[in-house]
């Protein structure tokens, strides 16, 4: 494929924006409230499945189905509250990965509900191909027509999607930037540093942690919905635990505790992730293209180790504010 193909890079831009929203959810839970959620991907899965089932099987309007998806993710966030409020950080990490894997295994093994290993295509049972994103594509087409006047030419569907996703990501980042600096954000960071002290000044620590979990769940659900609409089809295999670790890598690349670094991390990660497909010069050309996917995952692991070991403050952060000592 051509390195300068604009359609490809537009697609990468869409995915980067979705990852930015996903990582923002993790930021609220982990960087603000200090809750290491290693099963963040479950919010995406639950929201995407609820939405797709609503649209295909019950013919719900897209907005209703999407709202139900977000509500399902909120419910999961509240369930997650039980371990999050009781467990030490590393046990919570284990419990949340296990929880995410339960969601994935259930999706894989309840074919009547989820379409089983076939994923969203199999939602209407064998023999029928289920699609859920036609309403979304119509929405993008309308957006594209509306943008024709200010932009001169009508943007492609992917370009319209990219504009939409990044507008949403920008708005959410600004919103959470405000929240982070509000008294609410200060309490959360206080909980992260010293729970006992925050309790001592009369704050309800449980309520604040649950709020962080639910906000993270909503952001994860949004990312899951957008990704499902963009790709048009999904299966349980798309919700492997590695996706959560991509989001962690994005947070780390940008610097753990810097909200404005999330989009930088998301773009850097997406460039790195999709860029590896162009590593087809010698000696890497000896690796066939199928195996290059594993090279990519190897790089993700390598960067996780490298940044955690050498530069836990990320590309841009400074070392002063770090929660990693807990």
């Amino acid at each position: 494929m051509d390195v300068l193909n604009p359609a490809f890079w537009t697609f990468v831009g869409v995915i980067a924006g979705i990852y930015a929203i996903l990582s923002l959810g993790l930021y609220v839970q982990f960087s603000l409230a200090g809750l290491p959620n290693f099963g963040h991907v479950a919010f995406m899965a639950v929201a995407a499945y609820t939405m797709a089932i609503g649209v295909t099987r019950y013919a719900l309007p897209m907005a209703t189905a999407a709202t139900l998806g977000v509500i399902a993710a909120i419910a999961l966030g509240l369930v997650l509250g039980v371990p999050a409020l009781r467990l030490r950080a590393d046990y919570l990490a284990i419990a949340t990965v296990a929880g995410g894997e339960i969601v994935r295994y259930l999706a894989l093994n309840l074919p009547d509900v989820t379409g089983g290993p076939l994923g969203s295509i199999g939602l209407l049972g064998p023999g029928q191909i289920a699609t859920y994103n036609e309403p979304w594509q119509r929405l993008l087409d309308r957006l594209s027509t509306a943008l024709q006047v200010p932009l001169g030419t009508a943007p492609t569907r992917d370009l319209a999607m990219a504009l939409l996703v990044w507008t949403l990501a920008g708005a959410l980042l600004a919103l959470f930037r405000g929240l982070e600096r509000s008294p609410w954000g200060r309490v959360l960071r206080g909980i992260r540093e010293d729970e006992v002290a925050v309790t001592a000044v009369g704050k309800n620590v449980v309520a604040f942690k649950l709020q962080a979990l639910v906000l993270g769940a909503i952001l994860g659900a949004l990312a899951g919905l957008l990704l499902a609409w963009q790709i048009g089809v999904f299966s349980p295999d798309d919700y492997q635990p590695t996706l959560t670790f991509y989001a962690y890598l994005i947070l780390i690349l940008g610097g753990m505790n810097r909200l404005w670094a999330i989009p930088v991390g998301a773009v850097a990660f997406s460039l790195l992730y999709s860029g590896t497909r162009f590593l087809n010069f010698f000696p890497l050309s000896l690796i066939d293209s199928g195996s290059r996917a594993f090279l990519r995952l190897f790089l993700v692991g390598f960067l996780l180790v490298l940044f955690m070991a050498v530069r836990p403050q990320g590309l841009l952060g400074n070392r002063r504010e770090l929660l990693l000592e807990k």
Binding site: P36, D90, A93, I94, A98, Y105, Y248, L295, G301, P312
Partner: protein, 295 residues
Amino acid sequence: MIRQLLQLAVNGLITGALLALTGVGASLVFGIQRVANFAHGEYLTFAAYVGLMLNVALRQSLLVSTVGAMLLTGLLALGIHFALLRPLRGRGLVAMSLITVGLGLMLRDVVFLVAGPQIRQYAIDQRAVFDLRLVRLSPGQAVALLVTGLVAPGVALFLARTRLGKSMRAVADNRDLAAISGVDVDRIGAYVWLLAGALAGLGGVMFAAVQGTFDPNLGFQVLFLIFTTVVLGGIGSPYGALAAGTVLGLAMELSTWQGLGGGLEARYKPVLAFTVLILLLLCRPQGLFGKARVL
């Protein structure tokens, strides 16, 4: 139905013994390092492929391959300990967890790159069956039964009777107390990684042999069963892990017995194990046998 029960019990005993042995290593490491090693599953994967190389490419017997894999995996674990985990000790729980996650991704994808994603099997006759009247064993199961039958008591004796074994338990139980009692904590830590790696190596080859076929996701699929074993037995308690692995293996297999109201469908076994893990962490993080204390 009784025959099915017996067969499931034997299957469960084999799975359980493998979980018990890998769990001993993981539990000691958890106790000493104070960090969940998310890369532990990949040590099993690495071993399974070293075993494959010895068994298929170099035409060694499965027993020789197992020993070779144990040796190399022990060295791998030791190397990673010295190169990465020891220098970074004290970075905090979450940071260390993420580092081991990254390490696991690296190891798994190196195996993917070198060995390819194909499904593999050892050079043993997969269709052969040892019919012992009441139960039937596949060749892989028979070897696993033999190997674990030899190694498990050996490990238990080693931990109970030798000076090194006692020191390992002491450091895993309480590092500071062991240090002021004159135990060379750093040296023992290195031996623990060697032992944990060797046991992971044994587990890797044996899991691969028992399953019949495997791919580079082998270790990651077993990782959470190992975690469950470690937590069930009480973190840092190797005897607990021996017992817990056996219990877990039996429970997972026997839950599918038809006598139990038709039994749980086999595909829900992982869900059962994960649910047990979460409930355990919530209700008894000190394990079934451990004393309640601040961990």
